[in-house]
């Protein structure tokens, strides 16, 4: 697949977003867009407002100013679950798995937006509910295979080591089969090998399903290799926006974030 055909029209656009908490300005007048099929990275120093930006996109924070456009339409003040139902899935910086459930159930929960049978049939189980369950189970098993987590299918996620939890969380986001996948530091706490694996997954998802990915990551190597375009935030302001090469050599970015130029 060539670069040009992989990336399509604008999928999501944020315009002039400003967000503050009491005195703290987390985001100031941020605009950028995400194109269909691309891997878009957001980087910046700690406390720059990256996670807050993801929270705005997924509808958890409501910015004081600015608009979010999704698939060419302006999005009103939606509840987070409504945003999810529109096709936005995400992972969290501080792992937010459902600790009391098994890996499998966590992944199945990721599919919740697509499951329909009503309570009556659920109570009876035999029939539509079971059929639906199996149908979705098959898809989830596919993801389980894909991520190589067969062995921990039935383990309660609370018991898993940190890195494995990150992987399950990615799985849960993947299970939603969303248009837009928001990943908040998916590789924090992983060693090189695991980062490589994770990169592979991200690229494969992007390739195979054409899923658009927005990625926050502090490992510059990963960001530069994986992403098509990068937004740099600093203290809530946008510092730079462009291809990895442009960003990497931007002096402001080097000063604020990279410390030394990474190439």
């Amino acid at each position: 697949m060539s670069e040009a055909s992989r990336i399509g029209d604008t999928l999501l656009e944020v315009k002039n977003i400003s967000l503050s908490f009491g005195g703290v300005k987390a985001l100031t007048d941020i605009s950028f867009d995400i194109k269909e099929g691309e891997v878009r990275a957001i980087i910046g120093p700690n406390g720059a407002g990256k996670s807050s930006m993801l929270n705005v996109i997924s509808g958890f924070y409501h910015p004081q100013e600015g608009e979010v456009w999704f698939r060419g339409e302006k999005r009103g003040a939606l509840k987070p679950y409504q945003v999810a139902r529109q096709g936005v899935a995400r992972t969290f910086q501080n792992i937010a798995l459902f600790k009391g459930m098994s890996t499998l159930d966590n992944l199945m929960t990721g599919r919740i937006t697509q499951m329909k049978t009503n309570m009556f049939w659920q109570a009876i189980w035999k029939g539509p509910a079971e059929r639906e369950e199996i149908e979705h189970r098959e898809r989830v098993e596919h993801i389980i295979d894909f991520l190589g987590i067969q062995a921990i299918r039935k383990t309660p996620v609370g018991r898993l080591p940190y890195g494995m939890q990150k992987r399950v969380e990615l799985g849960r986001a993947l299970a939603a089969e969303a248009k837009l996948l928001l990943l908040d530091e998916p590789m924090a706490g992983m060693n090189m090998e695991e980062k490589e694996d994770m990169s592979r997954f991200i690229l494969d998802v992007n390739d195979e399903f054409g899923t658009t990915i927005t990625l926050i990551e502090h490992d510059i190597g990963v960001v530069m290799d994986l992403s098509d375009r990068v937004v740099v935030l600093d203290y809530g302001c946008k510092l730079a926006d462009g291809t990895p090469d442009i960003v990497r050599n931007d002096q402001a970015v080097i000063d604020a974030y990279l410390g030394v130029s990474h190439d």
Binding site: P45, Y162, G163, G189, M190, N191, M192, R200, V222, D225
Partner: protein, 270 residues
Amino acid sequence: MSTDNTILSIKNIEVIYDHVILVLKGVSLDVPKGGIVALLGANGAGKTTTIKSISNILKTERGDVTKGSISFEGERIENLSPTELVKRGVVQVMEGRHCFEHLTVEENLLTGAYTRKDGRKAIADDLEKVYNYFPRLRERRKSQAGYTSGGEQQMVAVGRALMARPKLILLDEPSMGLAPQLVEEIFEIVKALNEKEGVTFLLAEQNASVALRYATYGYILENGRVVMDGEAASLADNEDVKEFYLGLSGGDKKSFRDVKHYRRRKRWLA
């Protein structure tokens, strides 16, 4: 490598969670006084468990050290309370930023000095020092820690440990979630403390390249066993370490885009 110089020595410990899950299967390691020892290993290898068994907070997770011994400065410490350990100078920085959410950043730092008895002045000085290490925290000192960003929380956790003026710091993934610049800074701080104040470090770290750069000695843990150990420099030269932990197969850095789908096999050639 157990010499008089050893500040912490773990001999053959086994750890079982919930009475049934065997996680550490005979781990031994030694930390020399004034050294920086890195503990590397894949997810779930047991790094965190090792560190928790040293600081003795495993019990709170229904884990138990069933075999082996741990000694600090020549004394057995398996049965000391965490408080006693802190008083003796062993402080842990927990993985995954355990801040006191409802306390402000400054209050968080001050609780770090809880066991200290050397007076307000000394504590205030150290607070100042931590703020100098992490200027970002000075800005957020009055905010509730629960509302600070992930990286800020990580700084709070590290800063809090420094406030205890420890002899040995157990750092569990200090670099997780920190911006690259800050990762370097944290390790610079580690180095400075190590050199200037003689603090010893045992750090579990995923970022092997940085860790091995700053460490003097390293252990590699797989599946609850030590599979390899050695001087940091020699580890960094090992082919497997290069491939799996440093991402430098065949000597040069390759792109993340070029990773293969199939699994690679570890050889652990010493």
